[in-house]
Protein backbone atom coordinates (compact mmCIF):
# COMPACT_ATOMS: atom_id res chain seq x y z
CA UNK A 1 0.00 0.00 0.00
CA UNK A 2 1.45 3.32 -1.09
CA UNK A 3 -0.14 6.49 0.29
CA UNK A 4 1.07 9.84 -1.00
CA UNK A 5 0.49 13.17 0.72
CA UNK A 6 0.06 16.26 -1.46
CA UNK A 7 -1.66 19.62 -1.12
CA UNK A 8 -1.54 22.18 -3.88
CA UNK A 9 -0.90 25.04 -1.47
CA UNK A 10 2.29 24.90 0.56
CA UNK A 11 2.40 24.95 4.33
CA UNK A 12 -0.95 23.25 4.86
CA UNK A 13 0.56 20.35 6.81
CA UNK A 14 1.73 17.66 4.37
CA UNK A 15 4.80 16.89 6.45
CA UNK A 16 2.78 17.04 9.66
CA UNK A 17 0.46 14.36 8.27
CA UNK A 18 3.08 12.20 6.54
CA UNK A 19 5.34 11.96 9.58
CA UNK A 20 2.57 11.29 12.08
CA UNK A 21 0.90 8.73 9.83
CA UNK A 22 4.20 6.88 9.45
CA UNK A 23 4.92 7.04 13.19
CA UNK A 24 1.41 5.86 14.08
CA UNK A 25 1.60 2.90 11.70
CA UNK A 26 5.12 1.72 12.44
CA UNK A 27 3.96 -0.53 15.27
CA UNK A 28 1.34 -2.10 12.97
CA UNK A 29 3.61 -3.30 10.18
CA UNK A 30 6.53 -2.56 7.91
CA UNK A 31 6.50 1.18 7.25
CA UNK A 32 8.58 3.12 4.74
CA UNK A 33 8.54 6.93 4.80
CA UNK A 34 9.76 8.65 1.63
CA UNK A 35 10.30 12.41 1.64
CA UNK A 36 9.90 13.26 -2.05
CA UNK A 37 9.97 17.04 -1.56
CA UNK A 38 13.54 17.08 -2.83
CA UNK A 39 13.59 20.89 -3.08
CA UNK A 40 12.79 21.37 0.59
CA UNK A 41 12.87 18.03 2.42
CA UNK A 42 11.74 18.43 6.04
CA UNK A 43 10.63 15.00 7.28
CA UNK A 44 14.07 14.38 8.81
CA UNK A 45 13.49 17.32 11.18
CA UNK A 46 10.61 15.42 12.79
CA UNK A 47 11.77 11.82 12.27
CA UNK A 48 15.27 12.61 13.58
CA UNK A 49 17.31 9.78 12.08
CA UNK A 50 20.24 8.69 14.30
CA UNK A 51 22.51 8.75 11.30
CA UNK A 52 22.17 8.76 7.58
CA UNK A 53 24.06 7.67 4.53
CA UNK A 54 23.74 9.24 1.11
CA UNK A 55 24.40 8.35 -2.48
CA UNK A 56 24.52 10.76 -5.42
CA UNK A 57 21.66 10.96 -7.92
CA UNK A 58 22.80 11.80 -11.42
CA UNK A 59 21.52 11.94 -14.94
CA UNK A 60 23.70 11.07 -17.93
CA UNK A 61 24.82 14.13 -19.88
CA UNK A 62 26.84 14.27 -23.10
CA UNK A 63 30.61 14.53 -23.13
CA UNK A 64 32.13 15.25 -26.52
CA UNK A 65 35.39 13.78 -27.75
CA UNK A 66 36.79 16.72 -29.70
CA UNK A 67 39.21 14.49 -31.60
CA UNK A 68 36.28 12.58 -33.13
CA UNK A 69 33.77 15.47 -33.42
CA UNK A 70 33.30 16.80 -36.95
CA UNK A 71 31.16 19.76 -35.86
CA UNK A 72 28.28 18.51 -38.03
CA UNK A 73 25.59 19.81 -35.63
CA UNK A 74 23.35 16.71 -35.52
CA UNK A 75 23.53 16.66 -31.70
CA UNK A 76 22.30 20.22 -31.46
CA UNK A 77 19.55 19.57 -34.03
CA UNK A 78 18.16 16.56 -32.14
CA UNK A 79 18.24 18.15 -28.67
CA UNK A 80 14.78 19.57 -27.98
CA UNK A 81 15.99 21.00 -24.66
CA UNK A 82 18.61 23.32 -26.22
CA UNK A 83 21.19 21.70 -23.98
CA UNK A 84 23.81 21.27 -26.70
CA UNK A 85 24.95 23.83 -29.23
CA UNK A 86 27.58 23.91 -31.94
CA UNK A 87 29.32 27.26 -32.24
CA UNK A 88 32.08 27.72 -34.81
CA UNK A 89 32.58 23.97 -35.06
CA UNK A 90 32.87 23.53 -31.28
CA UNK A 91 30.22 21.75 -29.17
CA UNK A 92 28.95 23.43 -26.00
CA UNK A 93 26.95 21.41 -23.46
CA UNK A 94 24.62 23.06 -20.93
CA UNK A 95 24.24 20.41 -18.22
CA UNK A 96 21.47 22.29 -16.37
CA UNK A 97 19.19 22.07 -19.42
CA UNK A 98 19.90 18.41 -20.24
CA UNK A 99 17.19 15.87 -19.41
CA UNK A 100 19.51 12.92 -20.02
CA UNK A 101 17.47 11.38 -22.85
CA UNK A 102 20.59 10.13 -24.65
CA UNK A 103 19.45 11.06 -28.17
CA UNK A 104 22.59 13.08 -29.01
CA UNK A 105 24.99 10.31 -28.04
CA UNK A 106 23.00 7.68 -29.94
CA UNK A 107 22.55 9.77 -33.08
CA UNK A 108 26.05 11.32 -33.35
CA UNK A 109 27.29 10.04 -36.73
CA UNK A 110 30.95 10.27 -35.63
CA UNK A 111 30.43 8.36 -32.39
CA UNK A 112 32.01 11.33 -30.63
CA UNK A 113 29.56 11.60 -27.74
CA UNK A 114 29.75 9.50 -24.62
CA UNK A 115 27.68 10.09 -21.50
CA UNK A 116 28.94 11.08 -18.08
CA UNK A 117 27.00 11.43 -14.85
CA UNK A 118 25.86 14.92 -13.84
CA UNK A 119 24.93 15.05 -10.17
CA UNK A 120 21.60 16.68 -9.32
CA UNK A 121 21.47 15.86 -5.64
CA UNK A 122 21.50 12.94 -3.25
CA UNK A 123 19.29 10.13 -2.04
CA UNK A 124 19.64 9.77 1.72
CA UNK A 125 18.77 6.79 3.86
CA UNK A 126 18.16 7.65 7.49
CA UNK A 127 18.48 5.17 10.33
CA UNK A 128 15.22 5.32 12.27
CA UNK A 129 14.00 2.79 14.77
CA UNK A 130 11.08 0.74 13.49
CA UNK A 131 10.79 2.12 9.94
CA UNK A 132 12.64 2.65 6.70
CA UNK A 133 13.24 6.30 5.87
CA UNK A 134 14.58 7.90 2.69
CA UNK A 135 14.65 11.42 1.36
CA UNK A 136 15.93 13.22 -1.72
CA UNK A 137 17.92 16.44 -1.55
CA UNK A 138 18.27 18.65 -4.62
CA UNK A 139 21.63 20.42 -4.82
CA UNK A 140 21.51 24.23 -4.53
CA UNK A 141 21.33 25.83 -7.96
CA UNK A 142 20.12 22.69 -9.76
CA UNK A 143 16.69 23.10 -11.36
CA UNK A 144 15.58 19.51 -11.88
CA UNK A 145 14.07 17.61 -8.95
CA UNK A 146 12.03 14.88 -10.73
CA UNK A 147 14.97 12.50 -11.40
CA UNK A 148 15.77 12.58 -7.66
CA UNK A 149 12.13 12.04 -6.74
CA UNK A 150 12.07 9.05 -9.10
CA UNK A 151 15.04 7.50 -7.28
CA UNK A 152 13.46 8.06 -3.86
CA UNK A 153 10.18 6.58 -5.07
CA UNK A 154 12.01 3.39 -6.13
CA UNK A 155 12.43 2.71 -2.40
CA UNK A 156 8.66 2.16 -2.07
CA UNK A 157 7.62 -1.08 -0.47
CA UNK A 158 4.28 -2.10 -1.94
CA UNK A 159 3.95 -5.12 0.36
CA UNK A 160 4.28 -3.02 3.48
CA UNK A 161 3.01 0.52 3.94
CA UNK A 162 4.79 3.33 2.13
CA UNK A 163 4.04 6.97 2.92
CA UNK A 164 5.23 9.54 0.36
CA UNK A 165 5.53 13.23 1.27
CA UNK A 166 5.26 15.33 -1.92
CA UNK A 167 6.18 18.94 -2.76
CA UNK A 168 3.60 21.72 -2.84
CA UNK A 169 2.07 22.73 -6.17
CA UNK A 170 0.70 20.56 -8.97
CA UNK A 171 3.52 20.42 -11.53
CA UNK A 172 6.07 17.75 -12.46
CA UNK A 173 7.70 17.19 -9.04
CA UNK A 174 4.29 16.49 -7.50
CA UNK A 175 3.17 14.27 -10.37
CA UNK A 176 6.44 12.33 -10.12
CA UNK A 177 5.97 11.81 -6.36
CA UNK A 178 2.32 10.71 -6.36
CA UNK A 179 1.81 8.95 -9.69
CA UNK A 180 2.32 5.35 -8.60
CA UNK A 181 0.49 5.59 -5.28
CA UNK A 182 -2.65 3.68 -4.35
CA UNK A 183 -4.15 6.64 -2.55
CA UNK A 184 -3.39 10.35 -2.39
CA UNK A 185 -4.17 12.35 0.75
CA UNK A 186 -4.73 16.03 -0.03
CA UNK A 187 -4.02 18.25 2.95
CA UNK A 188 -5.66 21.66 2.87
CA UNK A 189 -6.71 24.52 5.09
CA UNK A 190 -10.16 26.10 4.94
CA UNK A 191 -9.03 29.40 3.43
CA UNK A 192 -9.54 30.82 -0.07
CA UNK A 193 -5.89 30.05 -0.98
CA UNK A 194 -6.19 26.54 0.43
CA UNK A 195 -9.41 25.88 -1.49
CA UNK A 196 -8.17 27.36 -4.78
CA UNK A 197 -5.10 25.14 -4.67
CA UNK A 198 -7.08 22.11 -3.47
CA UNK A 199 -9.23 22.37 -6.61
CA UNK A 200 -6.04 22.23 -8.71
CA UNK A 201 -4.70 19.30 -6.69
CA UNK A 202 -8.00 17.42 -7.13
CA UNK A 203 -7.86 18.02 -10.90
CA UNK A 204 -4.31 16.64 -10.87
CA UNK A 205 -5.06 13.44 -8.94
CA UNK A 206 -8.14 12.88 -11.11
CA UNK A 207 -6.03 13.25 -14.26
CA UNK A 208 -3.70 10.63 -12.79
CA UNK A 209 -6.62 8.38 -11.86
CA UNK A 210 -5.67 8.24 -8.19
CA UNK A 211 -8.07 7.49 -5.34
CA UNK A 212 -8.00 10.44 -2.98
CA UNK A 213 -9.39 12.03 0.16
CA UNK A 214 -8.98 15.33 1.98
CA UNK A 215 -7.62 16.34 5.36
CA UNK A 216 -8.65 19.78 6.61
CA UNK A 217 -5.97 21.28 8.82
CA UNK A 218 -6.39 24.41 10.97
CA UNK A 219 -10.17 24.02 10.89
CA UNK A 220 -11.81 27.08 12.39
CA UNK A 221 -9.83 29.64 10.43
CA UNK A 222 -11.34 30.83 7.19
CA UNK A 223 -14.76 29.66 6.06
CA UNK A 224 -16.92 26.61 5.18
CA UNK A 225 -16.34 26.65 1.45
CA UNK A 226 -13.74 23.85 1.53
CA UNK A 227 -16.15 21.44 3.21
CA UNK A 228 -18.89 22.44 0.78
CA UNK A 229 -16.53 21.83 -2.12
CA UNK A 230 -15.62 18.34 -0.87
CA UNK A 231 -19.28 17.43 -0.29
CA UNK A 232 -20.26 18.73 -3.71
CA UNK A 233 -17.48 16.76 -5.42
CA UNK A 234 -18.07 13.61 -3.37
CA UNK A 235 -14.55 13.67 -1.90
CA UNK A 236 -14.30 12.12 1.57
CA UNK A 237 -12.94 14.33 4.36
CA UNK A 238 -10.81 11.82 6.27
CA UNK A 239 -9.61 13.96 9.15
CA UNK A 240 -10.16 17.44 10.52
CA UNK A 241 -7.50 19.03 12.72
CA UNK A 242 -8.61 22.22 14.46
CA UNK A 243 -6.51 25.37 14.64
CA UNK A 244 -4.67 24.71 17.88
CA UNK A 245 -1.90 26.88 19.24
CA UNK A 246 -0.35 23.83 20.96
CA UNK A 247 0.16 22.16 17.58
CA UNK A 248 1.71 25.29 16.05
CA UNK A 249 4.10 25.74 18.98
CA UNK A 250 5.27 22.14 19.40
CA UNK A 251 5.43 21.44 15.68
CA UNK A 252 7.48 24.58 15.06
CA UNK A 253 10.07 23.06 17.44
CA UNK A 254 10.31 19.79 15.55
CA UNK A 255 7.95 17.58 17.57
CA UNK A 256 5.69 15.34 15.47
CA UNK A 257 1.96 15.84 16.08
CA UNK A 258 1.26 12.41 17.57
CA UNK A 259 4.18 12.74 19.96
CA UNK A 260 3.13 16.19 21.18
CA UNK A 261 -0.57 15.27 21.30
CA UNK A 262 -0.90 11.45 21.53
CA UNK A 263 -4.70 11.73 21.48
CA UNK A 264 -4.38 12.09 17.70
CA UNK A 265 -2.82 8.63 17.29
CA UNK A 266 -6.15 6.71 17.10
CA UNK A 267 -7.41 9.14 14.45
CA UNK A 268 -4.43 8.34 12.23
CA UNK A 269 -4.98 4.60 12.69
CA UNK A 270 -8.70 4.94 11.89
CA UNK A 271 -7.89 7.02 8.85
CA UNK A 272 -5.51 4.34 7.61
CA UNK A 273 -8.24 1.70 8.00
CA UNK A 274 -10.64 3.84 5.98
CA UNK A 275 -8.04 4.38 3.27
CA UNK A 276 -7.38 0.63 3.12
CA UNK A 277 -11.10 -0.06 2.75
CA UNK A 278 -11.42 2.49 -0.04
CA UNK A 279 -8.41 1.10 -1.90
CA UNK A 280 -9.70 -2.47 -1.52
CA UNK A 281 -13.17 -1.51 -2.75
CA UNK A 282 -11.66 0.24 -5.72
CA UNK A 283 -9.39 -2.67 -6.66
CA UNK A 284 -12.24 -5.20 -6.35
CA UNK A 285 -14.51 -3.05 -8.53
CA UNK A 286 -11.99 -2.78 -11.36
Amino acid sequence: MIISVASGKGGTGKTLIATSLALALKDKGAVTLLDCDAEEPNDHIYIKPESSSSEPVSIPVPSVDEAKCTGCGVCSDVCVFNAIAVVAGKVLVFNELCHGCGACAYLCPAGAISEVPHELGVLEEGKVEGMRFFDGVLTIGQPMAPPIIREVRKKSDGDGITIIDASPGTSCPVVEAVRESDFCLLVTEPTPFGLNDLRLAVETVRALGLAHGVIINRAGVGDDRTEEFCRGEGIPILMTIPLDERIARTYSRGTPLIEALPEYRPQFLEMYDRIREMVNERSSST
Binding site: S7, G8, K9, G10, G11, T12, T15, D37, A38, E39, E40, N42, I45, V78, V80, F81, H99, G100, C101, G102, A103, Y106, L107, L138, I140, G141, Q142, P143, M144, A145, S167, P168, G169, T170, S171, C172, P173, V174, V175, R179, T191, P192, F193, N196, D197, L200, E203, T204, A207, L208, V221, G222, D223, A248, R249, Y251, S252, R253, G254
Partner: protein, 290 residues
Amino acid sequence: MREVVVLSGKGGTGKTSVVGAFAALANQKVLSDCDVDAADLHLLLSPTVKEEHEFWSGQSAVIDRAECIECGQCVEVCRFDAIHDFVVDPIGCEGCAFCSRICPVNAIKMKDNMAGHWFISETRFGPLVHAKLGIAQENSGKLVALVRQKAKEIAEQQGLQITINDGPPGIGCAVISALSGAHLACIVTEPSFSGIHDMERVLSVCRHFNTPAVVCINKFDVNEEGTQQIERYCEGEGIDVVAKIPFDIKVTEAQVQGVPLVEYTDDARLVEPIEAAWKAVLRGFDSIGS
Protein backbone atom coordinates in the same frame (compact mmCIF):
# COMPACT_ATOMS: atom_id res chain seq x y z
CA MET B 1 12.94 49.27 -13.82
CA ARG B 2 13.48 47.32 -10.60
CA GLU B 3 12.19 43.86 -9.82
CA VAL B 4 11.68 42.18 -6.44
CA VAL B 5 10.77 38.50 -6.15
CA VAL B 6 9.15 37.19 -2.99
CA LEU B 7 10.30 33.67 -2.10
CA SER B 8 10.24 31.44 0.96
CA GLY B 9 11.60 27.95 0.37
CA LYS B 10 8.87 26.40 2.50
CA GLY B 11 5.33 26.89 1.27
CA GLY B 12 2.61 28.61 3.26
CA THR B 13 4.83 31.07 5.10
CA GLY B 14 2.85 34.07 3.80
CA LYS B 15 4.44 35.07 0.47
CA THR B 16 1.16 35.97 -1.20
CA SER B 17 -0.19 37.87 1.83
CA VAL B 18 3.01 39.94 1.86
CA VAL B 19 2.85 40.55 -1.91
CA GLY B 20 -0.81 41.59 -1.62
CA ALA B 21 0.14 44.13 1.03
CA PHE B 22 3.08 45.37 -1.07
CA ALA B 23 0.64 45.78 -3.97
CA ALA B 24 -1.45 48.15 -1.86
CA LEU B 25 1.60 50.06 -0.56
CA ALA B 26 3.70 50.45 -3.71
CA ASN B 27 3.32 53.09 -6.40
CA GLN B 28 3.99 52.75 -10.12
CA LYS B 29 4.32 48.99 -10.31
CA VAL B 30 3.42 45.85 -12.23
CA LEU B 31 2.47 42.69 -10.33
CA SER B 32 3.21 39.18 -11.48
CA ASP B 33 2.28 35.83 -10.01
CA CYS B 34 5.14 33.41 -10.69
CA ASP B 35 3.60 30.56 -8.68
CA VAL B 36 2.07 29.24 -11.87
CA ASP B 37 0.99 25.83 -10.62
CA ALA B 38 -0.82 27.14 -7.53
CA ALA B 39 -1.43 30.83 -8.17
CA ASP B 40 -3.31 32.69 -5.44
CA LEU B 41 -2.45 36.38 -5.78
CA HIS B 42 -5.55 37.03 -7.93
CA LEU B 43 -7.68 36.09 -4.91
CA LEU B 44 -6.50 39.26 -3.14
CA LEU B 45 -6.43 41.67 -6.07
CA SER B 46 -9.83 41.03 -7.77
CA PRO B 47 -8.41 41.27 -11.29
CA THR B 48 -10.39 41.94 -14.46
CA VAL B 49 -8.84 39.78 -17.16
CA LYS B 50 -7.99 41.88 -20.23
CA GLU B 51 -6.07 39.31 -22.25
CA GLU B 52 -6.01 35.52 -22.13
CA HIS B 53 -3.40 33.54 -24.07
CA GLU B 54 -2.64 29.88 -24.53
CA PHE B 55 0.77 28.64 -23.42
CA TRP B 56 2.09 26.04 -25.83
CA SER B 57 5.26 24.41 -24.66
CA GLY B 58 7.01 21.12 -25.12
CA GLN B 59 5.79 18.09 -27.02
CA SER B 60 4.57 14.56 -26.40
CA ALA B 61 5.15 11.54 -28.57
CA VAL B 62 2.15 9.77 -30.12
CA ILE B 63 2.43 6.36 -31.77
CA ASP B 64 0.27 5.73 -34.81
CA ARG B 65 -0.79 2.15 -34.16
CA ALA B 66 -1.75 1.63 -37.81
CA GLU B 67 1.86 2.29 -38.85
CA CYS B 68 3.60 0.68 -35.85
CA ILE B 69 5.33 -2.64 -36.50
CA GLU B 70 5.94 -3.23 -32.77
CA CYS B 71 9.70 -3.59 -33.21
CA GLY B 72 10.25 -2.24 -29.70
CA GLN B 73 13.10 0.16 -30.50
CA CYS B 74 11.18 3.08 -29.03
CA VAL B 75 10.66 1.23 -25.75
CA GLU B 76 14.36 0.42 -25.65
CA VAL B 77 15.59 4.00 -26.09
CA CYS B 78 13.03 5.71 -23.84
CA ARG B 79 14.70 6.53 -20.54
CA PHE B 80 11.52 7.84 -18.97
CA ASP B 81 9.63 4.54 -19.02
CA ALA B 82 6.86 6.34 -20.89
CA ILE B 83 6.01 3.69 -23.51
CA HIS B 84 3.98 0.65 -22.54
CA ASP B 85 2.38 -1.73 -25.03
CA PHE B 86 3.26 0.72 -27.82
CA VAL B 87 1.23 3.49 -26.26
CA VAL B 88 2.94 6.63 -24.92
CA ASP B 89 1.92 7.81 -21.47
CA PRO B 90 1.79 11.60 -21.97
CA ILE B 91 2.45 12.18 -18.27
CA GLY B 92 5.68 10.16 -18.30
CA CYS B 93 6.82 11.47 -21.72
CA GLU B 94 9.40 14.27 -21.47
CA GLY B 95 9.06 15.17 -25.14
CA CYS B 96 12.70 14.42 -26.02
CA ALA B 97 11.61 13.00 -29.41
CA PHE B 98 14.30 10.28 -29.28
CA CYS B 99 11.71 7.58 -30.07
CA SER B 100 10.28 9.54 -32.97
CA ARG B 101 13.73 10.02 -34.50
CA ILE B 102 14.72 6.36 -34.40
CA CYS B 103 11.38 4.73 -35.31
CA PRO B 104 12.21 2.77 -38.47
CA VAL B 105 8.71 3.21 -39.95
CA ASN B 106 8.10 6.82 -38.87
CA ALA B 107 5.10 5.79 -36.81
CA ILE B 108 5.83 8.23 -33.97
CA LYS B 109 4.82 11.87 -34.28
CA MET B 110 5.53 14.66 -31.84
CA LYS B 111 2.49 16.65 -30.79
CA ASP B 112 2.68 20.14 -29.28
CA ASN B 113 1.45 20.43 -25.70
CA MET B 114 -1.04 23.06 -24.67
CA ALA B 115 0.61 23.52 -21.31
CA GLY B 116 -1.53 26.24 -19.74
CA HIS B 117 -2.79 29.79 -20.01
CA TRP B 118 -1.48 33.20 -19.11
CA PHE B 119 -3.37 36.39 -18.48
CA ILE B 120 -2.91 40.13 -18.41
CA SER B 121 -5.34 41.70 -15.97
CA GLU B 122 -6.16 45.08 -14.58
CA THR B 123 -6.49 45.50 -10.83
CA ARG B 124 -7.11 48.58 -8.73
CA PHE B 125 -3.44 48.25 -7.71
CA GLY B 126 -2.10 48.20 -11.27
CA PRO B 127 -1.56 45.62 -14.01
CA LEU B 128 -1.19 41.94 -13.05
CA VAL B 129 0.34 39.18 -15.16
CA HIS B 130 -0.63 35.71 -14.01
CA ALA B 131 -0.91 32.18 -15.34
CA LYS B 132 -2.37 28.74 -14.85
CA LEU B 133 -0.17 25.79 -15.72
CA GLY B 134 -2.12 22.96 -17.32
CA ILE B 135 -2.88 19.98 -15.09
CA ALA B 136 0.10 17.61 -14.82
CA GLN B 137 2.07 19.72 -17.30
CA GLU B 138 5.79 20.32 -17.30
CA ASN B 139 7.69 23.49 -18.17
CA SER B 140 6.53 25.59 -15.24
CA GLY B 141 9.94 27.31 -15.43
CA LYS B 142 9.24 28.44 -19.00
CA LEU B 143 5.80 29.75 -18.04
CA VAL B 144 7.36 31.67 -15.13
CA ALA B 145 9.90 33.19 -17.53
CA LEU B 146 7.06 34.18 -19.87
CA VAL B 147 5.04 35.81 -17.07
CA ARG B 148 8.09 37.83 -16.01
CA GLN B 149 8.85 38.83 -19.59
CA LYS B 150 5.28 40.11 -20.10
CA ALA B 151 5.39 42.01 -16.80
CA LYS B 152 8.62 43.65 -17.92
CA GLU B 153 7.11 44.64 -21.26
CA ILE B 154 4.10 46.20 -19.53
CA ALA B 155 6.37 48.11 -17.16
CA GLU B 156 8.31 49.48 -20.13
CA GLN B 157 5.18 50.39 -22.11
CA GLN B 158 3.51 52.14 -19.20
CA GLY B 159 6.65 53.68 -17.72
CA LEU B 160 6.25 51.80 -14.43
CA GLN B 161 9.33 51.61 -12.26
CA ILE B 162 8.78 48.49 -10.19
CA THR B 163 7.80 44.84 -10.71
CA ILE B 164 6.68 42.78 -7.73
CA ASN B 165 6.81 39.02 -8.31
CA ASP B 166 4.99 36.54 -6.11
CA GLY B 167 7.32 33.54 -6.32
CA PRO B 168 6.80 29.79 -6.03
CA PRO B 169 7.85 27.66 -3.05
CA GLY B 170 10.88 25.38 -3.25
CA ILE B 171 14.31 25.94 -4.79
CA GLY B 172 14.01 24.14 -8.14
CA CYS B 173 13.27 25.06 -11.72
CA ALA B 174 10.34 27.44 -11.12
CA VAL B 175 12.20 29.30 -8.35
CA ILE B 176 15.38 29.63 -10.41
CA SER B 177 13.28 30.93 -13.29
CA ALA B 178 11.53 33.46 -11.00
CA LEU B 179 14.79 34.59 -9.39
CA SER B 180 17.36 34.81 -12.17
CA GLY B 181 17.99 38.42 -13.12
CA ALA B 182 15.71 39.89 -10.42
CA HIS B 183 17.28 42.80 -8.53
CA LEU B 184 16.26 41.70 -5.06
CA ALA B 185 14.75 38.69 -3.30
CA CYS B 186 12.48 39.20 -0.31
CA ILE B 187 12.35 35.95 1.68
CA VAL B 188 9.27 35.38 3.84
CA THR B 189 9.99 32.78 6.49
CA GLU B 190 8.51 31.54 9.74
CA PRO B 191 10.32 30.55 12.92
CA SER B 192 9.66 26.82 12.72
CA PHE B 193 12.45 24.29 12.29
CA SER B 194 11.24 23.53 8.78
CA GLY B 195 10.76 27.23 7.92
CA ILE B 196 14.35 27.96 9.01
CA HIS B 197 15.81 24.95 7.21
CA ASP B 198 14.05 25.92 3.97
CA MET B 199 14.94 29.61 4.30
CA GLU B 200 18.62 28.68 4.56
CA ARG B 201 18.32 26.65 1.35
CA VAL B 202 16.55 29.38 -0.62
CA LEU B 203 19.08 31.97 0.62
CA SER B 204 21.82 29.68 -0.69
CA VAL B 205 20.09 29.71 -4.07
CA CYS B 206 20.02 33.55 -3.97
CA ARG B 207 23.74 33.54 -3.19
CA HIS B 208 24.37 31.04 -6.00
CA PHE B 209 22.74 33.43 -8.49
CA ASN B 210 24.24 36.57 -6.87
CA THR B 211 20.83 38.03 -6.01
CA PRO B 212 20.78 40.23 -2.88
CA ALA B 213 18.15 39.20 -0.33
CA VAL B 214 16.27 40.56 2.67
CA VAL B 215 14.25 38.50 5.15
CA CYS B 216 10.78 38.98 6.70
CA ILE B 217 9.89 36.75 9.64
CA ASN B 218 6.18 35.99 9.61
CA LYS B 219 4.38 34.67 12.75
CA PHE B 220 7.58 35.58 14.60
CA ASP B 221 5.92 35.20 18.02
CA VAL B 222 4.93 31.54 17.50
CA ASN B 223 8.50 30.55 18.37
CA GLU B 224 10.65 33.39 19.74
CA GLU B 225 13.69 31.13 20.02
CA GLY B 226 13.33 30.26 16.35
CA THR B 227 13.06 33.97 15.53
CA GLN B 228 16.34 34.61 17.37
CA GLN B 229 17.92 31.74 15.48
CA ILE B 230 16.86 33.31 12.16
CA GLU B 231 18.20 36.70 13.26
CA ARG B 232 21.55 35.17 14.25
CA TYR B 233 21.80 33.27 10.98
CA CYS B 234 21.00 36.36 8.91
CA GLU B 235 23.44 38.49 10.87
CA GLY B 236 26.17 35.95 10.18
CA GLU B 237 25.33 35.99 6.48
CA GLY B 238 25.10 39.79 6.27
CA ILE B 239 21.39 39.67 5.39
CA ASP B 240 18.96 42.22 6.86
CA VAL B 241 15.89 41.01 8.74
CA VAL B 242 13.56 43.82 7.65
CA ALA B 243 10.28 42.87 9.32
CA LYS B 244 8.84 40.73 12.08
CA ILE B 245 5.13 40.16 11.59
CA PRO B 246 3.15 38.65 14.50
CA PHE B 247 0.73 35.74 14.18
CA ASP B 248 -2.75 37.23 13.86
CA ILE B 249 -6.03 35.75 12.64
CA LYS B 250 -6.64 39.04 10.79
CA VAL B 251 -4.20 37.86 8.12
CA THR B 252 -6.54 34.97 7.33
CA GLU B 253 -9.63 37.16 7.68
CA ALA B 254 -8.24 39.54 5.05
CA GLN B 255 -7.74 36.55 2.75
CA VAL B 256 -11.33 35.39 3.31
CA GLN B 257 -12.51 38.93 2.47
CA GLY B 258 -10.27 38.81 -0.62
CA VAL B 259 -8.40 42.05 0.12
CA PRO B 260 -4.79 42.91 0.96
CA LEU B 261 -4.04 42.89 4.67
CA VAL B 262 -3.26 46.63 4.85
CA GLU B 263 -6.70 47.40 3.43
CA TYR B 264 -8.44 45.05 5.84
CA THR B 265 -6.88 46.37 9.02
CA ASP B 266 -5.05 49.45 10.30
CA ASP B 267 -3.69 47.48 13.28
CA ALA B 268 -0.20 48.95 13.66
CA ARG B 269 1.19 45.60 14.91
CA LEU B 270 0.61 44.19 11.42
CA VAL B 271 0.78 47.22 9.17
CA GLU B 272 3.99 48.74 10.51
CA PRO B 273 6.26 45.72 9.91
CA ILE B 274 4.91 45.30 6.38
CA GLU B 275 5.46 48.99 5.64
CA ALA B 276 8.97 48.61 7.05
CA ALA B 277 9.57 45.63 4.75
CA TRP B 278 8.40 47.56 1.70
CA LYS B 279 10.60 50.53 2.59
CA ALA B 280 13.52 48.12 2.96
CA VAL B 281 12.81 46.77 -0.53
CA LEU B 282 12.90 50.32 -1.91
CA ARG B 283 16.17 50.96 -0.05
CA GLY B 284 17.49 47.72 -1.49
CA PHE B 285 16.65 48.96 -5.01
CA ASP B 286 18.42 52.27 -4.33
CA SER B 287 21.56 50.56 -3.08
CA ILE B 288 21.84 48.57 -6.32
CA GLY B 289 22.39 51.83 -8.20
CA SER B 290 21.46 52.24 -11.82
